[in-house]
């Protein structure tokens, strides 16, 4: 039976590159797929693009290209990535520039566009698309003048089209995480676009692999202390068969673990209804998936059921949602928690007296309940060695947010005893609100363009 080997190269913008290199060098992987876009990443890329119109893609594509293009050239490995973000053409120029720098010619770089809706909102509205937020029902008017980006989630088709045109590297914008992995399976194994069960298997494959190390022993809630060599963790490698079943494994000699437990933890990760995992390529029923131990660091995955792709595509937008100001200060035993609480009280009273315009004030006690909130039990204070107070405020503008951090240093002299200040400037962070709506897919897909260019 025909097979294709697909590896995961990256799980987010900022991920390490060594595991991809392990796969390229030490396995017979045919495709390396990179998921670089979280919901929030497009907001970061929009800020880059505002400063410099040639940017708007994830900048680590330079390192990816420099590290892996030699393997594209010599071993014929193909790279698939949504690193194009808001500017896939810009990402292509960068990859082609790196290729020339490395003296590599003859490779083809494909790009798909058509996901960026930022300048099409009026047109979509005229076409009758409801741009209200699907989660809250809020009308777009509330945030329209604060929008930062708007992109539709495309599926695997444009990527497959680029592969059909001979691309060795495929760069897209907001294609789904899963599409990066489904596309090479469809292309190599000749799956039809209405073979829902096979597409479902390919989507399960993509879902398991899109978070890189999370399926090979990272973020594992079981006996994580027994997982060896996480410092050189291997990223997942899938051996996908024509019938849709596949085995998840990793490069020999790498750290981490592939087991039924590490795989099932990832199978349901960030999924809402497991019976209806909705993607642009098919709707997947995860409750039919079978996981079987297939030897050391090998798990066989089969049985996913698919149903027809939805008639709409999801679009996501980000809008500027104010700023977060933050300051942090530590208190030592004895009575560390009481001291931190008293300090929070002081800061709040001073903020109010100064008239700092905040919409929300929050005091977290790091080491006590900052991560579990009400689920954390209250401890006997004598057993708490130290507590860090983290004060945050939400404001409309940056200047207000900045003020809160300045209230903390004086606590060293004026507050409870035993203070440690961390020497960092609490620069306000812009908060990004997310907004989603559904668009009839023909309105999007009719505008998708795929092009392939050769490095000469």
């Amino acid at each position: 039976m025909k097979q294709v080997k697909i590896g995961a190269g990256q799980g987010f913008y900022g991920d390490i590159i060594e595991p991809a290199l392990d796969l390229a060098e030490n396995t017979d992987v045919q495709y390396l797929a990179f998921d670089t876009l979280a919901e929030l990443t497009l907001a970061i890329l929009q800020k880059d693009r505002q400063k410099d119109p040639s940017l708007g893609y994830t900048k680590d594509i330079t390192r990816t290209a420099r590290t892996l293009l030699p393997y594209v050239h010599e071993k014929g490995i193909k790279l698939i990535t949504n690193a194009g973000g808001l500017n896939p053409e810009g990402a292509r120029r960068e990859v082609m520039r790196v290729a020339k720098e490395l003296g590599i010619t003859g490779i083809k770089v494909g790009v798909a566009t058509g996901d960026d809706l930022f300048h099409r909102l009026d047109e979509l509205e005229r076409a009758g698309v409801d741009l209200s937020d699907t989660d809250t029902g809020r009308p777009l008017e509330e945030v329209r003048d604060r929008l930062l980006f708007a992109s539709a989630y495309l599926g695997a088709r444009p990527i497959v089209e680029a592969l059909e045109q001979g691309a060795d590297v495929v760069i897209t914008g907001r294609t789904t995480d899963t599409a990066q992995f489904l596309a090479p399976a469809v292309f190599e194994l000749g799956w039809r676009w209405d073979d829902w069960d096979k597409l479902a298997q390919g989507l399960v494959l993509g879902h398991l692999m899109e978070c890189s190390g999370q399926v090979t022993g990272g973020n594992f809630s079981g006996d994580w202390w027994n997982i060896e060599d996480l410092d050189r963790i291997g990223y997942p490698l899938a051996e996908v068969s024509e019938d849709g079943s596949f085995v998840i494994t990793k490069a020999p000699g790498t750290g981490g673990r592939v087991s039924v437990d590490t795989v099932r933890e990832q199978l349901l990760y960030e999924i809402h209804d497991p019976r209806r995992y909705i993607t642009p390529d098919a709707i997947v029923d995860l409750t039919t998936v079978r996981l079987e131990d297939d030897g050391p660091d090998r798990v066989k995955v089969s049985g996913a059921k698919g149903s027809p792709a939805p008639p709409t595509l999801k679009a996501i937008m980000g809008y500027s949602n104010g700023f977060m100001g933050m300051g942090m200060v530590g208190f030592s035993w004895p009575n560390a928690l009481s001291k931190a609480k008293r300090a929070a009280d002081i800061v709040r009273k001073q903020a109010d007296r100064m008239g700092i315009q905040y919409e929300e004030f929050s005091a977290d006690f790091l080491g006590v309940n900052a991560l579990h909130g009400p689920a954390a039990p209250i401890l006997d204070e004598d057993f708490i060695n130290e507590v860090f107070l983290r004060v945050t405020i939400r404001t409309k503008d940056r200047a207000e947010a900045e003020k809160i951090g300045r209230l903390l240093p004086p606590l060293v002299l004026n507050g409870p005893p035993g203070v440690a200040m961390m020497p960092f400037a609490a620069r306000p962070r812009e908060l990004i609100g997310l907004w989603s709506f559904l668009v009839p897919r023909e309105l999007i897909e009719s505008q998708v363009r795929v092009s392939v260019e050769e490095v000469r």
Partner: protein, 128 residues
């Protein structure tokens, strides 16, 4: 092991356990919702958890951090229960003031939960 501990493992005896001793759990975010998957070690434990680990129990455990309803989905093929906690992240990853703005600590947070548990379903048998 002691005679009393042996008796505790007999059928019908209930013991108080923390979920950390029984299950795996992983959590993540989607907008302002946090989802938590809980995985049982075997079918008998799964069937028991289906009975006792209700959405209400999970919602109560996280108190005011979960502002909206909690939905539960059963995923028997991987012996899992999936909880989707609505309005649980203080506005969602990129809008939240929370330190755990991605909701990755909700899974470990749920492992704190104490439940009554049939002694004969405890892992490890009677070899302690």
């Amino acid at each position: 092991m002691s005679a009393s501990a042996g008796a505790a493992r007999e059928k019908g005896t209930m013991v108080r356990v923390q979920l950390r001793d029984i299950v795996l759990a992983r959590s993540g975010d989607k907008g302002n919702n946090c989802d938590i998957s809980v995985f049982a070690p075997d079918e008998r434990v799964y069937e028991y958890l289906v009975k006792v680990l209700t959405p209400d129990v999970v919602k109560a455990h996280f108190g005011h951090w979960v502002q909206g309803p909690v939905e539960r989905f059963e995923v028997p093929n991987v012996l899992a229960l999936k909880f989707v906690c609505h309005e649980a992240l203080g506005g969602g990853a990129s809008s939240s003031l929370r330190l755990d703005n991605l909701g990755k600590c909700f899974g470990p947070g749920l492992l704190r939960l104490e439940i009554d548990f049939p002694a004969d379903l405890l892992p490890g048998g009677d070899d302690e």
